[in-house]
């Protein structure tokens, strides 16, 4: 189990050639081996969603995927959302609506919401609530997160 395998993780278009043990989780590889610490680790068993990233466009719990499984796949993390100094509409909506307090769950919520809205731009309010219920937040009581994602959905459709 300790033998390392060479893989390439493509994170936000940037290629990282790293060597990992088979048991290395994707989130550990992203944070420790690639230095991208925007993705947070919460429960480490797939319940809280703080580590949600996009793998080939799909929201994924990166604590439940091995780094080896992501070899050659297109990975997007929160660091890739903004375009230079211009925030992604989802990030802007989170700021405008005070949708974060401590910020720990925020990268996961941002990636979850962006992933789903890119796939289903016209998703209904009820379905959106279903989707957001897959991640946990301890500070906000969800009210402002829901508001932010609904407003970002409108902004993303208008784009």
């Amino acid at each position: 189990m300790t033998e390392k395998t060479g893989i390439t993780l493509t994170i936000n278009g940037e290629r990282h050639s790293i060597a990992v043990e088979p048991r290395r989780t994707l989130v550990d590889a992203i944070r420790e081996d690639c230095g991208k610490t925007g993705t947070h680790i919460g429960c480490e068993h797939g319940v809280c969603g703080a580590c949600t990233i996009l793998v080939d466009g799909e929201p994924v719990r990166s604590c439940l995927m091995f780094a080896l499984q992501a070899d050659g796949k297109d990975i997007r993390t929160v660091e890739g959302l903004a375009d230079g100094d211009n925030l992604h509409p989802m990030q802007q909506a989170f700021m405008d609506n005070h949708a974060l307090q401590c910020g720990f769950c925020t990268p996961g919520f941002l990636m979850l919401a962006v992933g789903v809205l890119e796939r289903e731009p016209d998703i209904g309010d009820d379905e959106l609530l279903d989707v957001l219920s897959s991640n946990l937040c301890r500070c906000t009581g969800y009210q402002n997160i829901i508001k932010a994602v609904r407003s970002a959905a409108a902004a993303m459709r208008a784009r």
Binding site: S133, L136, C139, G141, N144, I145
Partner: protein, 143 residues
């Protein structure tokens, strides 16, 4: 309260807090939302459970059960603004108010709904199991 399942749905939550001077109303509302959500969690969902030999049974967040966006209803906030001379900014603390008030408010609402059955819940969280157990006990013929 769904009498068949013991499930509870909160239709609406209204909260009024006196935080003294509201320095940043947006943050004030955010704190109240979060406090109320934790209070509702306390009232209906979250519990650390041990078995009779002391083994913890709620070892994951899926068992301890923090609420998600589904469980927290829309929260209507009202402000009282009584300035205090105890602080330079005339502001008081806030956030805890929702956490402290919500469990009693929620369980009182449940007990109001259960009143026609002569049943009341006196233990947190008011889970479907506890509500059904209380209803079952009330329906058993008295000896």
């Amino acid at each position: 309260v769904d009498i068949e399942t013991g499930g509870v749905t909160i239709e609406k939550f209204i909260v009024a807090e006196d935080a003294g001077r509201l320095i940043n109303p947006m943050i004030v509302d955010g704190q109240i939302h979060g406090g109320v959500a934790q209070g509702i969690a306390n009232a209906l969902y979250e519990e650390i459970v041990y078995d009779e030999t002391g083994n913890i049974l709620t070892t994951t967040l899926a068992d301890y059960l923090p609420p998600t966006s589904h469980e927290i209803p829309p929260i209507e906030i009202h402000h009282l603004e009584t300035l205090t001379s105890a602080s330079v900014t005339k502001a008081k603390g806030l956030g805890e108010g929702g956490t402290i008030g919500a469990p009693a408010a929620v369980v009182n609402a449940i007990n109001d709904a259960l009143a026609p059955f002569g049943v009341s819940i006196d233990e947190f969280p008011a889970t479907p199991q506890r509500i059904r157990a209380a209803l079952r006990a009330s329906q058993e013929p008295r000896a």
